[in-house]
């Protein structure tokens, strides 16, 4: 356990140390010493900003991510279960997936205005695809013998969906959800760089425009930390949902 913690923290600590000492005497306006950035970090983020900027960002991310999860899994199960439906929608999916979501921001602004809805929609538009496409693959990949077993025992409807389809597809769904999470964080920031009045992305841009360089750096640092914490939380959920999957894989070795 201790060895794993050491392995986990060794490189970040080393990088941090290198940054600290390399920037220690810096007088460069754009590259302030890390010590100054940390002071700015404390002053900037341990304040009302946590409520005014960080919380709205995370709330929009949560809303967009949750909506993408729901829609992606529901559509993915439907498309994955029906070869006919798949034949019709696959070309459209390929097209929609290929559009980089930031491009959609101006369009979404036209449709949904510049409020929270726009930002949530941008996040959904990026997070949906990995979840949807992975769910389709997962549903298609349900083991034949297992599917036959369910048919023989006449396991149908909700029972089949809950205990066969969703569970069998869950490793793929989790993979899609993981990709979607990192896309979601990126889009959370990008959506706030356009026509926003609050949020992490907005704040970082504001600092940059106001030449508050240490504060700007501290915002970038915070975004990185948010990403790490979210991915840790994701790991915990993954280990719970896919306990059987990891166990089975270990047993086969």
């Amino acid at each position: 356990m201790t060895r794993r913690v050491v392995a986990l923290l060794a490189l970040p600590a080393a990088l941090f140390a290198v940054w600290w000492f390399a920037s220690a005497g810096s007088t460069d306006f754009y590259r302030p010493p890390l010590s100054r950035i940390l002071v700015a970090f404390k002053e900037t983020w341990f304040s009302r900003r946590l409520l005014d900027d960080v919380a709205p960002s995370l709330a929009r991310l949560a809303a967009g991510y949750a909506a993408a999860l729901l829609a992606g899994i529901a559509l993915g199960v439907a498309i994955g279960s029906s070869a006919r439906l798949r034949a019709y929608v696959e070309p459209v999916l390929e097209f929609l997936r290929a559009i980089p979501p930031p491009v959609l921001v101006p369009i979404v602004i036209l449709v949904a205005g510049i409020g929270d809805l726009m930002k949530v929609l941008v996040i959904v538009s990026g997070c949906l695809w990995p979840i949807l496409l992975n769910t389709v693959e997962g549903v298609r990949g349900v083991d034949e013998v297992l599917a036959d077993t369910a048919r023989t025992y006449r396991i149908r409807g909700v029972l089949r969906l809950r205990h066969l389809v969703l569970r069998a597809a869950s490793p793929q769904i989790v993979t899609g959800a993981r990709q979607a999470l990192s896309i979601g964080i990126i889009l959370m920031v990008i959506s706030e760089m356009f026509a926003a009045s609050s949020g992490l992305g907005f704040t970082v841009v504001q600092f940059q425009r106001g030449f508050e360089i240490p504060e700007m750096w501290s915002g970038v640092l915070l975004l990185g930390l948010v990403g790490v914490l979210l991915s840790l939380a994701f790991r915990l959920v993954d280990m719970r949902i896919l306990k059987w999957y990891h166990g089975e894989r270990d047993a086969r070795r």
């Binding site: 083991d143 013998v145 297992l146 036959d148 048919r151 025992y153 029972l159 205990h163 569970r167 059987w244």
Partner: protein, 260 residues
């Protein structure tokens, strides 16, 4: 109870026309233990999938209890060869046994009783909280058998269920299945490529030809009801029967030009 009449199955894939089953006809009475043997690749699994309603035949009919099979019939269970793929890896042992009972809509106390009973019958009462992948192959197949037992089917199909376990486990499972059959009074159709296993287990052995498959022989096994791995297999009659079946299968697979 089980009535297979002129069953045909032709596979048409990629321009290739393969006749797997060329018209099979046989019956199994209620409560009978019938083994189906045949050379490898003779369409045993195809036959079983047609009877189980998982595969639509190209011709002929299958009736279970007088009703033509068009999809998986009620009161029919299958134990597959690939136990590792037929158990739900995300469900614990008792949940695996329980799931078909939930689909039947049985009340919870009854399900609980049936699950406990079935696991006791296969000697797995202690493992009910384990996941399938934590068990050995033989134990996993026991779980699959317990699931079939708890379901209380009137017809039980088994597709080479012991092909992938070691010899000792296999002997134990063979005796277990005889016990389960006695206990349930179920009509049992057991597909295997192992001639000894077929003769040891069954009341009747149906010998299939190589593809395109037909019934070559329908043989009554007149061994005593009480079977035992040591005495039954040493019985001269057992040797006679197995030699007879073996010769039939061998003759069917030997190419004509090779015969004298």
């Amino acid at each position: 109870m089980l009535d297979v009449d002129g069953l045909r199955k032709v596979y048409d894939t990629h321009g290739r026309h393969v006749e797997a089953l060329a018209g099979l006809t046989f019956q199994a009475a209620a409560g009978e233990f019938v083994c189906v043997v045949g050379p490898s690749g003779c369409g045993k699994t195809t036959l079983l999938r047609c009877i189980g309603g998982l595969l639509a035949p190209s011709g002929g009919t299958v009736r279970v209890d007088g009703t033509p099979v068009t999809g998986p019939p009620p009161d029919l269970a299958i134990v597959f060869q690939e136990y590792g793929r037929s158990l739900f890896p995300w469900l614990r042992v008792h949940e695996n046994v329980d799931l078909p009972l939930r689909s039947k809509g049985l009340p919870k106390p009854e399900r609980k009783r049936l699950v406990a009973e079935a696991l006791r019958a296969v000697g797995l009462s202690d493992a009910d909280g384990a996941y399938p992948w934590q068990l050995s192959g033989g134990m996993q197949q026991r779980v699959a058998i317990a699931r079939a037992v708890a379901y209380r089917p009137r017809v039980l199909l088994m597709d080479e269920p012991f092909a992938a376990v070691d010899a000792q486990t296999r002997a134990d499972l063979e005796d277990l299945i005889r016990e389960v059959w006695h206990h349930l009074g179920v009509t049992l159709l057991f597909v295997t490529h192992d001639i000894d296993e077929a003769v040891y287990l069954a009341q009747r052995v149906i010998v299939l030809s190589k593809a395109p498959t037909t019934v070559m022989e329908d043989l009554a096994i007149d061994l005593p009801e009480e079977r035992d791995q040591l005495t039954t297999r040493a019985d001269p009659r057992f040797t006679e029967l197995r030699t007879h079946v073996y010769a039939r299968i061998k003759r069917s697979t030997t190419p004509l030009e090779a015969s004298p």
